[in-house]
């Protein structure tokens, strides 16, 4: 999936759509399989990116080997009685509701009755609500949230101060779901082997029947996208709405997205390269991940895909994949925190962010940039309102060049289209922008088309997975009946045991 962050307005419709479908049960109140964070910010759960604290993802040794940051195999079994890196409910928030009944039943008195907050775990009144969903929403510049963003570590003191200056405060939104990684930390950390990746579509799922609440996946996932259901004693996570995908519908978060920022498509990759690709030094991670993605038009690739049981419809989707275009062809979408080395499969087109401007003598003064020979008015890299180092920490494991390349191309698109529509740029200026963006007029038009005017069919290019049909092709359907489906087939009564 690709998220075009310039189009995200932070409305949380995706989160709500997801919650209404999947996480409105007891024990899941605090789960946001899809959440939208304000960046800079500490995110959800608080400081999830701080792997010193939570030990998620993989670590690279001096010798180039990677190992789980959480535990080795023996350590995993030794820590099973107490997981030292487990976030607790307080790192998320204690879910609550209100005692509405009191509004009707309160005895007559001098004051208006109130509906007190009541914990959804203990049922007891909560006097202090210290956190909740989107608690730090829109709080760019706040000393409590924005300033503690782990991605600011690489910035100088001056740069960090600037981010908090009046009129320079800046933030953007980061929608997050499970990355359905190629080298998932949750799968590797699960002692019971209950978590698995589906071969056909790459969706990572937790078998509810095999999960034994050893709770290592929660720490093992560096994105904190597996959640522990404290009531059922099972971990749960985003299932990429596979029941919807199987019937040809996009995931609920995707479908409900108001800004239409999401693109879902097929990528073909070489699974044999996973370990090698996850083990390269930080600066090479983005490029290595891109290299692993195969050209769906290459006859060799098509042959290999067919040999591996990939359907023709899937290959056709890969050839038409918007994700392939953003990630591999145009190279303007980057993975979130590749430095966690799980090879995440969500990609983000970084936001351009507003132009840098200040009031000078009472007038709004837009800071242009002459030295690059680019016209003023549009964001320029060197004076980007959000330091490029910050973006590199988020999207390219610190490799500034990768992020710069993306931005130069995005700037070229803007300048090219503005020259076309508003006609206030010289041709030389446009050509300079295209050259700097390492792009062509045709590519710019294509990027513009898929960014600004895509149809539903262009954004969602996945064939109906038809898993039940796929099973029939190889197996006796009656034998395999009831084998594909979400978790629990029995009615869940109150825990008996």
């Amino acid at each position: 999936m690709v998220f075009h962050l310039d189009k995200c307005i932070g409305c949380h419709t995706c989160s709500v759509a997801c919650k209404n479908i999947w996480t409105d049960r007891k024990g899941t109140e605090y789960m946001w399989w899809n959440n939208v964070e304000t960046k800079p910010g500490t995110g959800y759960p608080t400081l999830w990116e701080d792997q010193e604290k939570y030990k998620g993802g993989w670590d690279r040794e001096e010798d180039g080997k990677i190992h789980l940051r959480l535990h080795g195999r023996k350590g995993g079994l030794g820590n099973i009685f107490y997981n030292p890196a487990l976030p607790t409910i307080d790192d998320y928030y204690e879910p609550w509701t209100y005692d509405y009944e009191n509004l009707f039943n309160a005895p007559e008195g001098d004051d208006q009755p109130t509906a007190r907050a009541v914990s959804m775990i203990t049922g007891k009144p909560m006097d202090n609500i210290e956190a909740g969903p989107n608690w730090d929403d829109d709080l760019g510049g706040s000393p409590l949230y924005a300033r503690n963003d782990p991605n600011l570590d690489e910035l100088t003191e001056d740069e960090r101060e600037q981010l908090n200056e009046i009129e320079r405060v800046v933030f953007f939104y980061l929608p997050r779901i499970c990355n359905h990684c190629l080298n998932p930390g949750c799968v590797a950390a699960c002692p019971a082997g209950a978590i698995y990746k589906r071969g056909e579509d790459g969706i990572v799922l937790i078998s509810q029947e095999k999960c034994r609440a050893w709770r290592m996946c929660i720490s093992g996932c560096p994105y904190k996208k597996t959640y522990y259901n404290w009531s059922s004693g099972k971990s749960e996570k985003c299932i990429l709405c596979f029941p919807r995908l199987e019937s040809g519908q996009p995931p609920a978060c995707f479908h409900s997205c108001v800004g239409r920022i999401r693109y879902l498509g097929v990528l073909l990759y070489d699974a044999d390269q996973i370990e090698k690709c996850a083990s390269v030094p930080n600066e090479e991670l983005v490029a290595a991940q891109r290299d692993m993605i195969q050209d769906p038009f290459d006859p060799e690739v098509i042959k290999a895909a067919k040999a591996n049981g990939i359907s023709d419809a899937m290959i056709a989707s890969a050839q038409n994949s918007p994700v392939y275009k953003f990630v591999k062809k145009w190279q303007i979408a980057l993975p979130l925190h590749p430095d966690f080395r799980t090879l995440p499969m969500l990609y983000y087109v970084p936001p351009m962010l507003p132009v840098l401007a200040k009031t000078k003598d009472g007038n709004y003064d837009v800071d242009g940039l002459e030295k690059e020979n680019l016209p003023a008015m549009l964001s320029s890299l060197e004076k980007a309102r959000m330091p490029i180092k910050y973006m590199a920490s988020l999207f390219s494991a610190g490799n500034i060049k990768e992020v710069e390349d993306v931005y130069r191309k995005l700037i070229a698109v803007r300048i090219f289209k503005r020259a076309q529509k508003v006609k206030d740029y010289q041709k030389s200026e446009v050509d300079a922008a295209l050259a700097q963006g390492n792009t062509t007029a045709d590519e710019v038009e294509a990027i513009f088309r898929l960014t600004a005017l895509p149809t539903y069919e262009e954004r969602f290019v996945v064939p109906p997975l038809g898993r039940e049909v796929a099973v029939e092709a190889w197996e006796v359907p009656l034998d395999r009946k009831r084998e594909a489906g979400f978790g629990v087939r029995n009615k869940i009564a109150k825990r008996k045991f």
Binding site: L68, R73, K74, G76, L77, I80, F81, Y82, N83, L86, P87, T88, I89, I121, T122, G123, K124, N183, P184, V187, A188, P191, A192, G193, I195, Y196, K197, R198, G199, E200, Q208, E209, K210, C211, R212, A213, W214, R215, I218, Y228, W230, S231, S232, G233, K234, I274, G309, R467, A470, V471, A473, W474, E475, A484, G487, V488, N490, R495, K496, F497
Partner: protein, 223 residues
């Protein structure tokens, strides 16, 4: 007659029910098999309870089991006085550790509202029975010294006779009340095992030591 019921009938019944219900649960209700961890809700007290409890009780249990399975070797080992002292001291220390851990766990369940929210009646029964068992074990080990040795000549032959389906209770009927209580309470725990969250001890994920890190499942069988 009463002794027969206690030391032959009850153990057989407890084990038979335990095996049958465990099999039923694994095949027909695998979803319910979980350790039901509550660390997510309460973290700090759990550390001081869970870690000493588990390490203490597991090693002691393994000791009991080793002596039962290899009474000869165990007997040779404890025949030396120094080694007997060492075994007794280690056993007593571990029992103390497990008991203290369990006291922490009991206190945690009683004092923490969040932990209480996920505690069922059976959890309480289990906790109390387990506490009784380690408490009794500690008491017996302390008052009826050299248990690691006399265990071989009392409980082991009795258990072996049960295993061989030639029950012989002469080894145990004359023992003090507290010792017999400890024996029988052990079978109460076995009986409770499949009905409670205690089943999680049967699914300790040893296979994590050798399984592939990544798990991929295909619809189609791949060769």
């Amino acid at each position: 007659m009463f002794d027969n019921a206690l030391f032959i009938g009850f153990p057989y019944m407890a084990i038979a029910i335990a095996i049958a219900v465990t099999i039923y649960r694994f095949f027909f209700d695998p979803y319910s098999v979980s350790s039901q961890s509550s660390q997510f809700l309460e973290n700090r007290k759990l550390f001081f309870g869970s870690v000493p409890w588990h390490y203490g009780v597991i090693i002691i249990l393994l000791g009991h089991l080793t002596a039962l399975l290899f009474p000869g070797a165990w007997g040779l080992f404890t025949a030396n006085q120094t080694r007997l002292y060492i075994i007794e001291i280690i056993g007593l220390a571990l029992a103390l550790m497990a008991t203290i851990g369990l006291i922490f766990l009991l206190y945690r369940r009683m004092s923490n509202a969040r932990a209480q929210a996920v505690t069922s009646e059976l959890d309480w029964i289990l906790l109390i029975v387990l506490f009784l068992q380690v408490g009794l074990g500690f008491w017996v080990a302390y008052y009826y010294r050299w248990g690691s040795d006399w265990y071989l000549h009392t409980a082991v032959p009795w258990l072996v006779s049960l295993l061989k389906f030639q029950p012989d209770i002469t080894y145990v009927t004359a023992l003090p009340f507290w010792v017999k209580f400890h024996f029988l309470n052990g079978f109460v725990i076995a009986l409770l095992l499949p009905f409670t969250r205690l089943v999680h001890l049967l699914v300790y994920p040893l296979s994590y030591l050798w399984r592939e890190h990544q798990v991929v499942i295909w619809n189609k069988a791949r060769h």
